[in-house]
Amino acid sequence: MLGLNGKDTRLFLIVVALVVFAPFILNPFPDGVGMAQFNAGYPDLMQKLVIFGIFAVGYNILFGLTGYLSFGHAAFLGVGSYAGVWMMKLLTMNVIPALIVSVIVAGLFSLLIGFVSLRRTGIYFSILTLAFAQMCYSLAYSVLTPVTGGETGLTLSLNDPRVIGATQAADGNIPAPHLFGLEMGSSFELALAGWNFTFNVGYYLCGFVMLVAFYLSVRLFRSPFGLMLRAIKSNQTRMSYTGLNPRPYALAAFVISGMYAGLAGGLMVAMDPLAGAERMLWTASGEVVLMTILGGAGTLIGPILGAGVIAYLESIISTIGSTVLHNWFAGLPEWLENTLVNIIYPFVGSGWHLTLGLVFMLVVIFLPGGIVEGGKRISGLFGRKTEGDTTVTGEAADTTTATKPGE
C-alpha cells in the first residue's frame, strides 16, 4: 500500500490507528477516579505528543540513520516557531502559510548551519551544532529582540497588519489560529458513562501532519537515499573509496531533519501562537536526543514512542505533588505512608527531570536500542526460541545497526 511493503504498511496502519484513536487510548480512566491523574486525553498534551513525535522522527533521520549527533536541533524548532508567528502577524491566521514558511525558513537555516557544521564529523560536529544553537539562542534572547521579542517571546498583538484576514476578531480579541475557518482550539466533547473524550481540531491537524511526516520518513528509510545515509553511518571512509561523496547526502539528511524540526515548531505556534527563545536552548536539543534514544534510534517507530513517552511523563509525572502521593498511600499506616512519600517525592513533581535522567541513563547503559529493542527482547522471551535469529529482517536489521554505530 502507498508504495510500502507489507511489514511497513502494517506499522503505518498501527500508527494511523494510534493517532486516530488517541483520545480514547489516552483516556483509560473515567473522570473523578484517582487514576484519572494518568489520563492524557486532553488537547494540549495530545498535540504536544504528536508535535514532539514529528520533531523526533525528523531527528532520527539525521542521528538514527546518518549517525551525526547534533546538539543544536532545537534551534531549527525555534526558528520555525518564529517564522510561523511572523506569518500569523503579517499575513493571516490560517495555519497553512505559517506551516509552509516555518518549514522553508528552517530548511534554509539548516542548510546554512549544516553546510558549515558538516565539514567536521564526530564530536566536533556535535560541538559545532551546539555552538551554533547557543549562538542563535543568545541572539534571539538579546540582539534580535525586534524580530524575536527577546525575553518575553514573540506574541500576536492587536496592531498586527495581517494582510489577508481580520486583524481583530468580531469580539475585539486577537483572532484564533484556524484552518480555513476551523479553529484550532475548538473541540468536540463526547461524554460516555463517566468518560469524557475530547476530539480537538488542532490535535487532528497535528496528527495528520505527523502521519504524513511519518510516511515520508518510512519512504526515506526504504529508499536508495536512505541506504546512502546508512552507508555514511557505518563507514564514511569506505563510502568515499567507492567513489561516493558523503557530504551532499549528509547535508540533505541534515536539511530534511531541520525541516521536520521547523514543521514541529510551526505546529507548536499554530496550536499556541507564542514563540520564545528558551525553545532554542541546548537542553531542549538534548531532549529530542533523549526521545530518539529512548524510543530506539534508527528504528521507524522508535522516535514516536520515545517522544510520546517523554512528553507524557513530563506532563503527568510533573503534576504529581505531595498531596497526590499522600492520597495514594492514605490507606497505609502513617509512618509507612510518610516514608513512601518521602522516598517517591524527589522523583515526581518538580523532580521529574531526575526520573528522566535516570531512565535515560539506564536506557543508554542497558538497552541501547531503546524501547523498540526492549519490546523485541520481551517478545523474544515469550516467542518461539528457534525464531530468534533466523527472522532478522527489516526493522530488526535497523536495530542492529542502531546498537553498534559504525566507528
Binding site: Y124, I127, A131, M135, S142, M361
Partner: protein
C-alpha cells in the same frame, strides 16, 4: 591603556574557571578517550561542597533575612530544600568566616571519591563504546546530578560570600603608576586567579615530574602502545579521572563568591568549556589552559560598552563565533595535534 588592562583582568577569573574545567576535560579525554558531559556537574558539585561547608560550620558573616517565611507566615513545608530543613534557614554570625577557602580541603577528598565512584560505576563500561554513547550517558548523568542538587538545595542561587578579609577591591592601577581608582580589582578575583594558577601549575608539574604523570602523558600520545607495554591502565584511569574531578570541583569551590551557586551552573559552564577544549585543541592540556584564558579575556573585551555599540550582541556570541572560526580554519584547535578525534 587602563581600559585594556581592566578588561584583561576582568577576563582572568572567568578564564581561570574555563581553563580549570577544560583542563580536566582534556585530561579525561586525552587519556581515557571519554567525552565527559558530566564535567560541568562536577564543577557545580564542588561549588555545593562550599555551600554545604558554609552551612554546616555556619562560618560566614552573611546575614540571612530571618523574617523569611512563606506567604502565610508558616514555617516551610515539604517543598523546602532538604538542607534548609536540616540545618535551618539562619546562618548567623560566624566563628570563622573562612568557609570557602576551608572547603577546598574538604572538597579534595569528596571530589576524589565522587570521581572514583563515577569512573568505576559508569565510565568504566563506556571505554569501548562509541563517543556518541559516552556523550549521551554522561549527559544523562549530568541531568541526574543537577536534579539531585536541585532537590537538596532548591532552585535558587545560594549566595556564598568570600571571607571578609577578601571583600573590597584592590587598586592595581596605582601599583603601575596609573591614576588612583583607574583600575580597581576585587580581591577575591585575584585570589581566584592565583589559586587557578597554582592548580594548573600543580597538574602540569605532576604530569611532568612524576612517573605516573609520564605514563599519563604517554597514554595521551599513544594509548594503544602504552597498553601493550603491560601498564595497568585501569588503575591509572581511575586516578586520572579523580584528578580531573578534583580540579573541576576546586574550580567550583573557589568560584562560589563570584557567582552564587545554582543547580544549572554546571550546564552553563559545560558548553563553554567544551568550546574552550575544542578551540585549544582536543587532547592538548596547554591548549585548554591557553584557550580558557584567551576566551575569558576575549569575552570581557566583547562586553565593553564601546564594542557592544559597534557590534550589538557580540558579547553573547563571541566565544561561539571564535569556536566556529577556529574549527573551520584550524580543525585541530590552537595547540592540538593532528589526527585526534578526526574520525
Amino acid at each position: 591603556m587602563e581600559a585594556i588592562i581592566l578588561q584583561v583582568l576582568n577576563g582572568l577569573d572567568k578564564g581561570s574557571a574555563y581553563a580549570l574545567i577544560a583542563l580536566g576535560l582534556t585530561l579525561i579525554f586525552g587519556t581515557l578517550g571519554v567525552v565527559n558531559f558530566a564535567h560541568g556537574a562536577l564543577f557545580m558539585m564542588g561549588a555545593f561542597v562550599a555551600v554545604t561547608v558554609k552551612r554546616l560550620l555556619g562560618t560566614s558573616y552573611e546575614v540571612v533575612d530571618e523574617t523569611r517565611t512563606d506567604f502565610l507566615g508558616n514555617p516551610m513545608t515539604i517543598d523546602t530544600p532538604y538542607v534548609v530543613s536540616w540545618f535551618g534557614e539562619s546562618v548567623g554570625n560566624a566563628m570563622v568566616d573562612w568557609a570557602v577557602p576551608l572547603s577546598v580541603l574538604i572538597a579534595i577528598p569528596i571530589m576524589a571519591v565522587i570521581g572514583v565512584a563515577i569512573e568505576r560505576g559508569l565510565i568504566k563500561h563506556f571505554y569501548k563504546r562509541p563517543h556518541a554513547d559516552q556523550i549521551l550517558v554522561t549527559f544523562g548523568l549530568a541531568i541526574v546530578l543537577q536534579e539531585i542538587i536541585k532537590a537538596f538545595y532548591g532552585a535558587n542561587p545560594i549566595p556564598t560570600p568570600a571571607p571578609s578579609a577578601f571583600t573590597g577591591s584592590f587598586d592595581i592601577g596605582q601599583l603601575f603608576g596609573f591614576d588612583p581608582f583607574a583600575i580597581m580589582y576585587p580581591y577575591w578575583r585575584l585570589v581566584y586567579f592565583g589559586f587557578s594558577a597554582i592548580i594548573i601549575a600543580a597538574v602540569f608539574a605532576f604530569l611532568q615530574f612524576t612517573t605516573f604523570g609520564m605514563v599519563v602523558r604517554a597514554g595521551m600520545a599513544d594509548r594503544e602502545t602504552v597498553g601493550l607495554l603491560g601498564i595497568d591502565i585501569d588503575r591509572r584511569f581511575v586516578i586520572v579521572f579523580a584528578i580531573a574531578a578534583v580540579v573541576a570541583g576546586l574550580a567550583g569551590v573557589m568560584y562560589t563568591p563570584i557567582l552564587s551557586p545554582n543547580y544549572h551552573m554546571g550546564m552553563d559552564f559545560l558548553v563553554l568549556s567544551f568550546v574552550v577544549v575544542v578551540v585549544g585543541g582536543m587532547g592538548s592540556l596547554g591548549g585548554a589552559v591557553l584557550a580558557g584564558f584567551l576566551l575569558g579575556i576575549l569575552q570581557s573585551f566583547a562586553s565593553m560598552s564601546a564594542i557592544i555599540e559597534l557590534v550589538p550582541g557580540i558579547n553573547q556570541v563571541i566565544i561561539y563565533l571564535v569556536a566556529v572560526i577556529v574549527l573551520l580554519t584550524r580543525p585541530r584547535g590552537l595547540l592540538g595535534r593532528k589526527g585526534v578525534m578526526e574520525d
